[in-house]
């Protein structure tokens, strides 16, 4: 991995502080990583993620949270060390196929997916005449196993997008809006205010809340899936979704009133509750979770 950012002095001193310790903790000796080359790797990683203003202590904490052992292994593999590859294959070969199968849900596609990744890990692409392995981009922020799964998932999503593009262009153009009710009418003028109120209400939410909303309403994931993505308990997400839907409506309403609409007008603009998002989504995704108050709303909106 080429040095893309200048390496700050703080990072350099933290790396030289911890180098010996991390070098032995990572078992670098056995897999042919010298102190110098490992120092370069650590500097690159730190420079990539730390803000240039980061101090010595910050850099130190950062380095200590890295998974040095897996980082060393990945980089040694990228460097073509045979022993490292042996370890890598023993540890991850089967897991890789298993993960691919879980992602692609179908044997031949899974094999194809895993084989593509293998090719990339070995390094089929070249840069300046040098073989470049994808493992060289692993930085040890998370586990190597998780990284492999993520890379597989990225590859899978890329492919999915590509094939979909090949299949139908208008489907692509409609992508995302397929969940909303078909509505060819141009938006009435009042909508600019509604739109800005909605934007403001959404922007006021925390990033996590927005992610929850998007995953749940937009992607149609189950509460359990959303919970696992965020690493929290399902019931937490369930409460959160309910609360968010309610507060969003209130906020949009307040936002429109603030922009000069009178109360009644605003209510009218909001005639369709924001919470009805769920209704549309449910129709196409057969989402299992339902709550009584919403079914009433559904009847009204139909």
């Amino acid at each position: 991995m080429p040095v893309t950012k200048p390496i700050s002095a703080a990072v350099q001193s933290a790396v030289s502080d911890l180098l010996a310790e991390l070098h032995s903790a990572g078992g670098c000796e056995k897999i042919g990583l010298t102190l110098d080359s490992f120092a370069t790797i650590l500097c690159d990683v730190a420079a990539k993620y730390l803000p240039p203003s980061a101090g010595h202590a910050e850099a130190r904490t950062f380095l200590l949270t890295l998974r040095v052992e897996e980082l060393a292994l990945a980089r040694a593999c990228a460097g073509g060390d045979n022993y490292a590859w042996e370890i890598f294959l023993t540890r991850y070969r089967e897991k890789l196929y298993q993960s691919a199968l879980r992602i692609a849900r179908e044997d031949s596609a899974a094999r194809d997916l895993a084989d593509t990744l293998y090719a990339e890990l070995y390094g089929t692409s070249t840069r300046d005449g040098q073989r470049v392995s994808k493992l060289a981009s692993f930085t040890g922020r998370g586990s190597l196993e998780g990284w492999l799964r993520t890379v597989l998932a990225q590859e899978f999503v890329n492919r999915y997008r590509r094939t979909k593009r090949l299949v139908s262009l208008d489907e692509e153009s409609k992508d995302g809006s397929q969940f909303a009710a078909p509505d060819p009418e141009p938006l009435p003028p009042a909508d600019s205010r509604l739109e800005s109120a909605t934007a403001a209400a959404l922007a006021a939410l925390s990033a996590e809340d927005r992610t929850v909303l998007a995953s749940y309403y937009l992607d149609g994931r189950t509460l359990a899936e959303v919970a696992r993505m965020l690493g929290v308990h399902e019931s937490t997400i369930s409460r959160k979704v309910d609360k968010l839907a309610k507060s969003l409506r209130k906020k949009i309403l307040a936002g429109m009133v603030q922009q000069g609409m009178d109360r009644r007008q605003a209510e009218e603009a909001l005639e369709v509750d924001v919470r009805d998002l769920r209704v549309d989504i449910r129709r196409s995704l057969a989402q299992e979770s339902s709550s009584p108050p919403f079914s009433k709303e559904k009847a009204r909106s139909n």
Partner: protein
């Protein structure tokens, strides 16, 4: 006017600039990002459906998540949280304490033993046999009646008598320490061992002594020597159960929740029954340092298949050597009084690795987690001669004991003790002190065992683990499967087999959904399951 949903959706959809790299997404999903970065990732995720998709797809299999969650949160299996059971545990603890009290009392009033025991624990077949400890180093009590090998002849009359009375409940106790060691107590649950050795004790119905062993002695570090063994235990299983008994013994003196865990875990029917008497006047329990205070260590497997443990939620990691042994003992002065604060250094002669510890207020030192090899022990204390002993060979899983008697003098003077004169080496099963016929038989077993270890040791490559609280299962290449109930202080090798077929091949996944139910996947691929915490295994078709 149903535009609002559409507007919200559109807002939510606003395209993200550039996709996040796999490293950040992985770290996000594993919750190892600092808060500031996590917010940045969330911000991106809220705008980028592709990355959300990637995160969702890359989630590990559900079982693995359960393991991870349980490893992060110390919450124990659900049933322990039920108040009734927790109180049951407390009650069991009280019973244990009461039993000790009874033992103490009986010791001073020998004539009343029987009545007392009967009064405390009615309706239980009780074995209470006073063991006279000879002045020689050790003795062995009776083998259970159900043992296929007839070594009863050699037993003391008293015990034979007792055994006749209560054939299936006779406890076996042995001591491997030197003269001073005396008392021990063995409290046993009346039901078959519920949670001890996986695999090897399969189906022995008649009450293997698992359960409670408690060692008391002049020399606290010898607490390990108490072992309990029950009636229907078949001879080949003896070694395994010895080992387990030891594990339990070491755990017992620890305070708080660990004891609770242990007692619940061990006793399905928590009525401790028989107890052996105590002889030693001084009661000093050996408190093992380290592990058990930390409720839930974190575990990881290194890329070379080694096992690492973190006791401080991931800040520092230490290698765990499953075949490690320990060296412990007491430092005394010529009069036999213990010496506190003596500096004890254990040096591995093969690697020159040094461990230094001071003896505690009771003169005890203990070095655990030592890899097998040759060691030298140095003890220094101002006012006494420098004590050196070695080389001492420490085998796999061996607990060596060294009682050092320092001589008054200058530190600069060195007293060298030839190897293995006063060094009492006590293997996990305490074989040295068995009667001769038994000794031969078990030696052969030990040889087999060692060979098994030798076969597996060079390539001890772990590939999967499952941890719940302080219990951990680790599986790896060549059907290696180890189990520890005490956060890795002691390990038992488990060889799953069912209907004569043994598990072979590499273990790639180990999942335990709760304390009892586990699943192992091998590379072959085979799936083995257990519903009783590894006692018996079933191969799935």
């Amino acid at each position: 006017m149903s535009n609002v949903p559409k507007i919200v959706l559109k807002q939510l959809q606003s395209r993200a600039d550039e996709h996040l790299d796999a490293d950040l997404l992985t770290a996000f999903a594993e919750r190892s990002l600092p808060e500031s970065e996590r917010t940045l990732v969330l911000d991106h995720l809220s705008r980028c459906s592709d990355c959300r998709e990637v995160v969702a797809l890359a989630l590990p299999a559900t079982e693995a998540v359960n393991v991870a969650v349980s490893a992060r949160r110390p919450a124990r299996a659900g049933w322990l949280t039920m108040p009734a059971l927790r109180w049951g545990v407390v009650a069991a603890g009280v019973l244990v304490v009461t039993s000790f009290g009874v033992l103490q009392y009986r010791q001073t009033h020998p004539g009343k033993e029987k009545q007392l025991a009967a009064a405390v624990i009615p309706r239980q077949p009780i074995t209470s046999t006073p063991l006279q400890i000879p002045t020689t180093s050790a003795q062995t009590s009776a083998a259970p009646a159900a043992l296929p090998h007839a070594e009863e002849k050699v037993q003391l009359d008293k015990r034979v008598e007792a055994r006749k009375q209560f054939p299936s409940m006779f406890p076996q106790s042995k001591s491997a320490s030197d003269a001073g060691v005396a008392a021990r107590g063995a409290l046993r649950p009346s039901s078959p061992a519920s949670r001890v050795s996986p695999g090897t004790i399969a189906g022995s119905g008649g009450g293997i002594a698992s359960g409670f062993g408690a060692g008391l002695g002049t020399n606290p570090s010898t607490a390990v020597t108490v072992e309990a063994q029950g009636g229907a235990l078949a001879a080949p299983e003896a070694q395994a159960s010895d080992q387990i008994a030891q594990n339990q013994v070491q755990q017992l003196p620890l305070p708080g929740r660990n004891v609770t865990d242990l007692s619940v875990a061990k006793a399905k029917d928590p009525v401790p029954a028989a107890a052996a008497p105590m002889q030693a006047p001084s009661v000093a329990l050996h408190t093992s340092p380290s592990l058990m205070q930390h409720a839930s260590p974190r575990w990881m497997i290194t890329s070379s298949g080694g096992l690492r443990r973190s006791l401080d939620a991931g800040l520092t990691w230490e290698d765990v050597n499953i075949n490690s042994g320990s060296i412990g003992g007491v430092v005394k002065d010529p009069s036999g009084a213990v010496i506190a604060d003596a500096s004890v250094t254990v040096t591995n002669l093969d690697t020159a690795e040094k461990h230094v510890e001071s003896s505690g207020g009771d003169g005890i030192f203990n070095f655990s987690n030592l890899s097998p090899g040759r060691y030298r022990i140095d003890i220094e204390k101002p006012g006494f001669n420098h004590f050196v002993q070695g080389p001492v060979t420490l085998n796999e899983q061996q607990n060596a004991r060294l009682d050092a008697a320092l001589r008054v003098g200058q530190v600069s003077e060195t007293v060298e003790v030839a190897a293995a004169t006063s060094m009492q080496v006590e293997t996990s099963s305490g074989l040295e002190n068995m009667k001769k016929n038994r000794l031969r038989q078990e030696n052969a077993m030990q040889a087999r065992e060692t060979q098994k270890h030798r076969l597996s040791t060079p390539n001890l490559v772990f590939r999967a683990l499952a941890a719940t609280g302080s219990e951990i299962w680790a599986g790896g290449s060549n059907a290696v499967l180890y189990h520890s109930l005490d956060a890795g202080a002691h390990w038992t090798r488990v060889q799953p087999s069912s209907a004569g077929i043994e598990l072979t091949g590499d273990i790639t996944e180990v999942d335990f959904s709760d304390l009892q139910h586990g699943k192992i996947t091998t590379s072959t691929p085979e799936v083995w399951t257990t519903a009783d915490d590894g006692h018996t295994w079933q191969k799935q078709p």
